[in-house]
């Protein structure tokens, strides 16, 4: 009976109203999965300077990251979703960080924690430091501070949660294209790294 009234297109406004009157609601799997994704970031156990100390503090009794369900710090990148780049990224660290990033399964996110990871901080012009994690990784959320307080870290994670809920991860064709591109880029990155190694 409901179907007879409809125009046969469940995305248009009038049909939706008819459906809502009959207590039928449509959602998509995408939203359901994003709901899950946004509520269970498992960060990688990674850190290189003083920011990780704040990250550790956020897991302890006073701040308790577990309230949001983000407390499962995995030491293996294969089971982690979130790379929290805490601390400056040095040239020596780059291959390690790139490898960790490559080992994490999709969908995955990067959070730059602290001034050094956001922009290089006080070491911006240093001979061995990259000016920010975004020069090598696709950073999703920047959390400034030197170091940021655990509250700031939580705020950053909640911002990431909003972002994840709005993102469409189902675009398979684009993903395919991106993968092809990434392969090409991999070669370029390798070439660049080899050049850099030669230079050093």
């Amino acid at each position: 009976m409901v179907l007879e009234k409809m125009d046969g297109n469940d995305s248009n406004e009038k049909d939706r109203k008819i459906l809502a009157e009959a207590n039928i609601f449509f959602t998509n799997l995408q939203k359901l999965f994003n709901w899950g994704r946004a509520r269970s970031f498992w960060p990688l156990n990674y850190g290189s300077n003083c920011c990780p100390i704040e990250m550790m503090a956020s897991g302890l009794a006073r701040f308790d990251i577990a309230r949001f369900g983000y407390e499962v710090f995995r030491s293996c990148p294969r089971q982690a979703d979130l790379l929290v780049v805490a601390g400056p990224v040095t040239i020596k660290l780059r291959p390690v960080l790139e490898r960790l990033w490559a080992q994490m399964p999709e969908p995955k996110w990067v959070v730059a924690l602290g001034n050094c990871a956001c922009s290089g901080g006080p070491f911006k012009d240093g001979y061995s430091i990259y000016p920010g994690a975004d020069s090598i990784l696709p950073v999703d959320v920047y959390i400034p501070g030197c170091p940021p307080r655990p509250e700031a870290f939580f705020y950053g994670l909640l911002e990431l949660k909003k972002k994840v809920e709005q993102t469409d991860y189902s675009r398979y064709d684009e993903w395919k294209k991106a993968k092809k591109l990434a392969k090409k880029e991999d070669k370029e990155v390798r070439k660049r790294r080899e050049k850099e190694e030669e230079r050093l």
Binding site: F33, R39, F68, R78, Q79, D81
Partner: protein, 345 residues
């Protein structure tokens, strides 16, 4: 009271009668009923695991003076569902150099072995899938099959950490299998049977934990090591081995390992309450299956408590503890039981 007591057994009989009424042959009705029972077991296992993971996160929080998950639903009880959804959506990575067949089979085998344990574990009075005279032997031998799955996973991943974790798992599980079997031997000597229903029936007047206190303690310690739970979680020691045999597993494959570990935990605790704590016997205001699960959940909570209180012990100390302490003690218990039986029977 009788209705609640016979809820599941009566339902089974009704379904069987209905199938016979549909003029199905006896064997087909029995097979269909068995299939339905398995579905129920799998449902119980999955619901149990969802509750347990939430409970463990919550309890670990309370033990460390934190709150634990509390944003999703009342007390954060939907946290596990969000995690499961996320894990289902993760990319499935199989390393290029991995032994693909072993890598793929290992998690499935681990969970199959874990669910197989429920074939003999009693869940209440007359509530066993199969109740045959060697059910305890079946339990012990099938439980040790899980080691093989872990080793397959560790070997198949072609990763240093995986292999080392798998080797540790094998060493640990084989050495703790011995005191586990010996501690159960004391109970078997008293009842003279390897059948779970008879062992539980023999505890109508006195629970075996009072007759076999040493056996209970050795069983509990050995079971902790068998389950790879803290303080004996050497195979997946995070600080040294990243994630042990599970290092290369992503998404649902890893989740299957996790599911199987909790499934094993419930099975071992059900077994513990059946063998040492009177199984379904208890005051009559609750049905037998409720008593069974109340006791099992009590032991699960004790396992959580131990895991989040004690630090992990070193690998060589772990082996020493098994071979130099637990095995002699459990053997001594067998001797003591024999002497006791000679004197008092």
């Amino acid at each position: 009271m009788n209705v609640i007591e016979n809820l599941f057994t009566g339902l089974g009989a009704m379904i069987y009668d209905f199938l016979i009424w549909l003029t199905l042959p006896d064997w087909l009705a029995a097979v269909i009923l068995l299939f339905l029972k398995w579905l129920l077991i799998i449902l119980v296992v999955i619901v149990d695991v969802i509750i347990l993971i939430w409970l463990e996160r919550k309890i670990s929080g309370y033990i460390q003076q934190r709150l634990g998950p509390n944003r999703l639903g009342p007390g954060g009880c939907f946290q596990t569902i969000a995690d499961t959804l996320k894990l289902m959506g993760k990319e499935d990575i199989i390393p290029r150099t991995a032994d693909k067949v072993l890598f793929v089979i290992a998690p499935a085998m681990f969970i199959i072995v874990a669910v197989m344990l429920y074939a003999v574990v009693p869940m209440g009075k007359d509530m066993m899938i199969v109740d045959f005279d060697l059910s305890m032997l079946f339990f012990i031998s099938v439980a040790s099959l899980g080691t093989l799955a872990l080793f397959m996973g560790g070997w198949g991943s072609d990763n240093k950490w995986s292999l080392m974790g798998a080797m540790r798992a094998v060493a640990q599980m084989i050495s703790y299998e011995v005191p586990l079997a010996f501690s159960l031997l004391g109970v078997v000597m008293i009842t003279g049977s390897l059948q779970f229903s008879e062992i539980v029936a023999a505890q109508e007047n006195i629970w075996f934990v009072f007759l076999q206190p040493i056996a209970f303690v050795t069983y509990f310690i050995a079971a902790t090591a068998e389950l790879n739970r803290g303080p004996f979680d050497m195979p997946e020691a995070e600080q040294e081995l990243t994630a042990g045999p599970y290092t290369e597993y992503t998404g649902m494959r890893w989740a299957l390992f996790f599911l199987a570990e909790y499934t094993n935990l419930v099975a071992v605790c059900l077994m513990c309450s059946a063998v040492f704590f009177g199984g379904w016997h208890g005051p009559a205001f609750l049905p037998s299956w409720a008593w069974m699960f109340i006791k099992a959940y009590f032991f699960i909570l004790v396992f959580f408590w131990i895991k989040w209180t004690l630090p992990r012990i070193r690998m060589d100390k772990l082996m020493e503890f098994s071979w130099k302490f637990l095995v002699p003690v459990s053997l001594g218990n067998v001797l003591l039981t024999g002497v006791g039986l000679m004197l008092f029977r």
